[in-house]
Amino acid sequence: MVVKGKKLQKKPSRKEQSKEFLSVKSKKKNDILSESDMEDEEMEEQQSLDGDGGNSGSDLSSDGDDTFAGDVLQGSDDEEKGSGSDSDLDSDDSDVEKKSRAIDDEKEREEKEALDELQLNIKEQPDEFRLPTQEELEEEARGPPDLTGLKQRIKEVVRVLSNFSSLRQEGATRKQYIEQLKMDLGSYYGYNEFLISSLVEMFPPVELMELIEAFEKPRPITLRTNTLKTRRRDLAGVLLNRGINLDPLSKWSKVGLVVYDHQVPYGATPEYMAGHYMVQSASSFLPVMALAPQEKERVVDMAASPGGKTTYIAALMKNTGIIYANEMKEQRLTKLTSNLQRLGVTNTVVCSYDGRELPKVLGHNTADRVLLDAPCSGTGVISKDESVKTSKNAVDVQNCSRLQKELILAAIDMVDANSKSGGYVVYSTCSMMVIENEDVIDYALKKRDVKLVPCGLDFGRPGFVRFRERRFHPSLEKTRRFYPHVHNMDGFFVAKLKKMSNSKGVPAAASEVEEVVEEGSEIEPSTTENPEAEIPKPQRKEMLKKGNKSSTTNNGSLKRKNEEKPAPKEKRKKFKPLPREEISKAREDKRQALREAKKKATTKSASKKARPGV
């Protein structure tokens, strides 16, 4: 108790001194409540409890100290100390005194500085954040990037944008802020101009920040139980025993498990090798759940590797029926077959075609369900693959979109609308881009007699019905988008289509009305979409002539264009087939002629060469 008393007494005295200072200062600076002030008040209270609250603090010399000590606390220690300080005889005590005074001084100084700083900050705060000028930016560009500064500025811009009317700088437009934000985000997180712009277009600034932050962190590791071989509870038990800490995935999946931490590699346990589970991101469960394959069905997976979704389909079908697993890329086939065999899938035929040829091979209107997990730009999986941030540009995404449009038509052609149990196509991508998702679905709705149906997933955001200048079919709200910052899985898009009739072409009743409204919007993007298509015709012919050597690739793309070009207008459609055949014939002739010419040339040159030798 004694010791405590002494402390109590000493502390207030110290505080009192500082308080004196502060009070003077605070008067000057118009009373700012700082933490130290608060503390002082508390201390005052304590003092008053102790009984010397009435003291004015004017005589805070050691004498005063002494007298208090004598008065209030009868502790002998205090008296001793007081006398010691008084007499200055005891060198030790005086040393302590000096030290304490030095400490006091330092504290005062610190507090003062802190207060000043606070003052400064407060002063700055009302002084609104202003955008850097051109010169400042140039200056900045010369030096090494100042990351903390960038981060600060990003925060500020986002803050301003979130309450633009009241926080904005006089005379600055929203566009200027957005431009600044794009630039800063690009350089801070390493995105290229195109990607950051398209993300900015899709999200409000605050959400955009959440999204980009989410892209920086890895998603949780998820496993899918192979129900062909085991049950989730059993598997979880075994893996827990092996030192893999896991929990069931959210309530929407009955087969998913989330790995929290692991002492052993989760991809090399005996259970993994025996095919009891598959390491698979949560987002890739979704398209299969949307597809909802039934037993004894004929299902096509158009882009199957590495087989996560295919094996899930097989598990849902309990290895009955038949699955065609297609994968175009040869180097990905081994992974696909190895996973299929490991998980004990026996109802699969693995083939390797370009997805666009599949209807010809497997037959039109034959499959009950088709899963098209389309090849895409991968902008939803930046957390997995950082290179996407810089490697994709507008042309890449356009190309993806074009391919996806062809693939989805192929997928729809394969499905049998009269199937008793099915007749569905599920389209999914791991991209966030609107032109790879909604745009593709919208295109399919116009081209074939299909309609969107609910995905059967009770979460996820509805797809865009309108996006900037584009207006999509209103039923596109039935599609689902998934975001890293909202659902904690990769950015993903899922749409489920039901084929209404096996006739090719637009549904008659619906098209009439919509076509009128949407034709303009249809044509415009398609012309901008195909940068190559804008090449004038004569030039293209030249290209054809030139490009005979690389005919395989060039030819393919040109052919495609021919198919796509007369897209929206009915008139052209009618005389489309004839010219195409003719063109191909003419092309073939030309090629033949060229080949022969070449042959002659080579033989001639060869003979010429040979002659001098002989």
Binding site: P270, M273, N319, T320, E327, K335, Q341, T346, C351, V361
Partner: protein, 240 residues
Amino acid sequence: MLIERMTMGSSFRFVDRSTLLDNRQICKEILSAVSSDLAVLPLNSATFRSVVEMRPLDEAETTQVFEKLFKFTGNNLKNIVESPSHEGLDKNPGRYCFRLHKNRVYYVSESLVKRATNIKRENLVALGTNIGKFTKSGKFHLTIQALNLLAANAKHKVWLKPTSEMSFLYGNDVVKGGLGRITDNINAYDGVVVFSMSDVPLGFGIAAKSTQDCRKMDPNGLVVIRQADTGEFLRNQDDL
């Protein structure tokens, strides 16, 4: 035409299965039955046009495959050949058959074979279960993918202690010390399927000693010579 040919080839049946049931030398019977069956079949030369094309096994190949399978499954071989298949779309369950495609042997439902005929041979990658491959010198090897089939029909089994599981999965043979349990009546050089104590199949191999001899062995003695283990799914994915 094509479909007809495929189905004809695929549906080789044993001449009379009833007699096979009580025959002790069932393997030889099966083999002879199969070969005679095949001999009866009009062997269309087109069927054997190419090694690459998917086709039924010929006589010699069938013999090799069945011998290997018999080593591991014994009388259960009948099961493998005769069990009805649940894959495919046909109403009445068909049977399984063996197909050779790109030197690999697939054990696959007839229904699937029929529906894979419209896929070009260059583009066909795999179907059903891959059970093994013919080496360049013409020998047949069972591969790890056959494990499911073998485990379900195994005659001789060995269970490993949890401590030696990983060693086996890294490609090592089974020694006496790692042995948890072993079925009776294993003779030396029989095919055995290796399980973990929780009955997860891990691989298969050849018994180095009979069950009797194993009892007397020292802990370092070789029990099973490894042929394949599930670790291969990770180690040499590209070869599978």
